[in-house]
Amino acid sequence: MAIMSFIFAFFFFSSLQPILSLYEDQVGLMDWHQQYIGKVKQAVFHTHKTGRKRVVASTEQNIIATLDLRSGEIFWRHVLGPNDVVDGIDIALGKYVITLSSGGSILRAWNLPDGQMVWESSLHGPKHSKSLLLTTNLIIEKDNSLIVFSNGRLNAVSCIDGEVLWKKDFEEESLEVQQVIQPPGSDFIYVVGFAASSQFETYKINAKNGELLKHESTAFSGRFSGEVSLVSSETVAALDSTGSILLTISFHNGKISSQQTPVSNLLEDSPGLAVIIHSSVTGIFAIKTDAATIFIRVIGEGKLEVVEKTNHETVVSDALSISEGQQAFALVQHAGSNIHLTVKPAHDWDSNLLKESIKMDQQRGFVHKVFINNYIRTDRSHGFRALIVMEDHSLLLLQQGAIVWSREDGLASIIDVTTSELPVEKAGVSVAKVELNLFEWLKGHVLKLKGTLMLATPEDIAAIQYMRLKSSEKSKMTRDHNGFRKLLIALTRAGKLFALHTGDGRIVWSHLLQSLHKSESCRQPIGLNLHQWQVPHHHALDENPSVLVVGRCGPSSDALGVLSLVDSYTGKEFSSLRLVHSVAQVIPLPYTDSTEQRLHLLIDADKHAHLYPKTPEAIDIFQSEFSNVYWYSVDDDNGIIKGYALKTKCSGNVADEFCFDSRELWSIVLPSESEKIITTATRKLNEAVHTQAKLIADQDVMYKYISSNLLFVATVAPKASGEIGSVTPEESWLVVYLIDTVTGRVLHRMTHHGSQGPVQAVLSENWVVYHYFNLRAHRYEMSVIEIYDQSRADNKDVWKLVVGNHNLTSPVSSYSRAEVITKSQSYFFTHSLKAIAVTLTVKGITSKQLLIGTIGDQVLALDKRFLDPRRSVNPTQAEREEGIIPLTDSLPIIPQSYITHSLRVEGLQSIITVAAKLESTTLVFAHGLDLFFTHYAPSRTYDSLTEDFSYALLLITIVALVAAIFVTWILSQRKELQDRWR
């Protein structure tokens, strides 16, 4: 009996976990991973040493990365936290990357070759201020030192160990330090700034010990505006706050002398408000007006001269010293589809060191930033390379009039993702270039066969592996039978749309959206979300599918909306609309018109509903379903959830038949003193549920409460909405609600005392799983609520079903009283979460798994059966057979079930699951700074042969069998003949 139970337990546990992990040689077969760094803010080249040339970059996503200058690959990269904004980077001693971050309070040194942190020191000061980082070649007490100005304090820090050598406070309340300057070859430092916006102050400080040598100040009649531009080591240029008077201030030897020049003297036409551009080119500074960028040279004592007036899209780099006393800088200008890169010496505007014209993809937009670097050519002359950052956040290296490499770093900030099918394979569509010929096909299979029969040499194995990875099957541009090949369409923060192929992650097309382009009427366009606009199905197969991009002009919710329609096969924007109303919510309706365009309802900030597309056909379809359209809004700030229905046509002064007024149907008001909404979750619209009923152990049936109008809301005590640990368990609680969004009925309400957010939740079928922190247990917890419909519970009797005396086929109405029962259970979970999702299959038959984005930026798969509220300590035999796992207090983390295997998706934001056509498989796309895509089969691929199945072996076996049959048949014939003759 013991053996029996042991065997039973063995089978039970082995069936518990289907093998989720991969073998080593399966990595990269179905998954791909791409690494990005985001929009570059500052770049420093490191090319002096022989060996690998690199560029160090800091980005707006708070990343420090070094890239290979030859290929653009990442050598190493560090993601600083979201609150650790990089203020400045530099290279010191030729081997350390110095970063100043967190508002100037953290200074770190990283080892350049491998990215190890060498030292870190924290700098604090008396007040918040601008942070400036200055590397010098000053030697103080035998140490090379850095000068850092941050938080109102000037620090000299040793490069070797980060020790603060001396410090000097600038405590004067109104002082705004603008520049810290070390004149070359001197051992003193100028600290230049404004006091009370109208006083110009200079401090001359001994660089060896921080002693104040001299302090001068001059009052100015007007007020200064923002930035100053350094013209020489003892002269700065500034603008007054009206933007009309230019000031050049020189402080030679501590004596301040200033010159005022009205901008209108320099320019004939009135330029409007001017802004000074930050640059560090000696003798020249630039101002930017509404119409143009103007370069101004300072001649002698404050005399100004306009050297060039260029159009708006001109970018200038910082100065680069190329030889003793000689500086150069780069200018990038747009001319049609080309960009002109010009490198000029600082002293002579009219001569050019380099002038190149490079053809640039229009979809990259304007140049935003340029960084230059020089090298010695083979003919001993100066060569220049430029790193440019484009409007779409991409990064390009230009050298010798060509683009050496480019990185699509816009993909580091994806806002929304949707998928699109690929074109159907047709006779006319040529896919020949990726097709293999018969010989290669056979060769491949023979190799595979050798591998199977263990006859392959190591070279063969490598060839097999290469073949598997580079399989042309997966990267074809046509639809496949299993639905694995799709286009992932991603909208990035830069307003660019990318289509990625799921097979290998390559960019099929990319398009900078015109509607999300900065313009006069739309100053700050931001993309909101993506929706499938047209999915050709039956009668509109000739049309290409298209996606709808929704954006708005500005961060506030009442800013006007913009719409774009983009063809998913070509990336062409065939329609773009500037709306006359705002966009608060976009509701894809379950109706399509005759060309398979989906009807969308856009709700504006005034709760008017606008129907799109604006066609008479759409309005006809919509009118018939008019009374069945409901929606809800969640007001997080006030804690009010409201439900609406449509009423009549808009009663505005403009007759708009696509606009509808709404009426308030229900409202839920949460007491503001005890509850604050932190998370909501709804079911995915496209989720399929296979069975309505759940058979439980004792041959009993429970009916799932499946409603697409279910809303999960989590609230916490307002006090407890901060960091974990900021409140005691007694004054924090977490309340969860399940709400029907048509009638506003609260189906379930439950309080977790002593618990706190952040809450991550996922709602699927009839269950919701959420994750939070339990302050009493000092651990994270995950809870599950399953909701069952009791009004159908009487339909258990087989006879009733046979006779037809049941209510299973009657339509379900939200207005019926909901008789639901809920079951819930909580479990401890080790990790904190960044994202949570659930696998999605096409028919919903395959068992579900939760995909958990862990704090370590990996994706962990967790079987939903572990989160079953019916788990008990000693499940009965029948329950075990049903698959109920004995109760444990915490959820297991099985190392093999990380679907990202050894990879990390840095800065993980969200996990998106898409159903493949194959029921067993779900496509998983995780994005953050990095992108990761894989196929995942929660219950293994039970409905298809594995990809390493050897068809050749099968074929050979069949051939061999047929041959054997023939041989034996002939032999037997012969034998029979001989027998007859005998």
Binding site: L665, W666, P671, T743, S826, D889
Partner: protein
Amino acid sequence: MKWVKVIVSFILTLSFLSFPSCAFQSDELLVDDEEFGLEGAPQHRSPEPIPTRSPPVTSPTRKRHSDLDSDSKIQFSLDHAFGDSDFSPAGTFSARLKTWSHGGQTLTKLRFSRNSFSDVEKEKFKNLLESDDFYRIRLPSNVLSPPGRDFIISSVKARCLPRESLDEHFVIHMEGVNVLAVNYGSPGSCPYPRNLKLPAKWSFSSHTVLKNSEQAPRAPVFTEEILGGENAEGEVVQPAERSFWAKYWMYLIPLGLIVMNAITQAMNMPEEQATGQVPAQGQPSAGAVQRGPSSAVRRR
């Protein structure tokens, strides 16, 4: 002091009863339960919602003098609207406000008196029925200082209400003295093709339920128990005794087949004897036919 003890022990037993699944609660948890038990004692006393059926006619509420001093009577009104019309008073909820020693306040003994429809309202309601429009109600979000921050609104298609009389069902979700939400609708189902049906009686029969928050089940905390269970490998839970058939079906089926085989053979025997007496040449085909099945049976 004695009654406190009694109440505590009563609540302790109740909390045990209300968490039958948490067999492994530690002492610490029990202390917590006690604390919460005090706070939300009415919930424990009635884990099931308290359905109070009030007659359609206004019933005078009695004040019981034996209650604690901290009890006070409060009233709040229900407003209704027909379609998009303005709200007008439709009834009054009266309840007793219980103030707990630690400051919490809860409502108990909710009663509802519904005003009957005036003729104008009847007409309006008929219009709603005809146009399949919404009948809307609202409650204050705070019962002590109505309307609180905002009104709680709920609505139902008017055609869901008429049965014999006008049947309505309120589930009021409360948190202390705040009304969070109200589930309003017919007490039964309201299937989708809503048919026009006028009520026989123009009076309301109302059911009201007051619901407070439930407590979430705690994560099971057990360490020794599970280990102990594993150590005692010998006394693993015996699988439930299976029935005779479940145990021995693999023997019973072949046995049954053998028996059947034997029976058919026994049946065939006399026939064969009977046919055997007749000259075999006479009916060769019949013999073959009969031999067929019997040989087949024998082969089994």
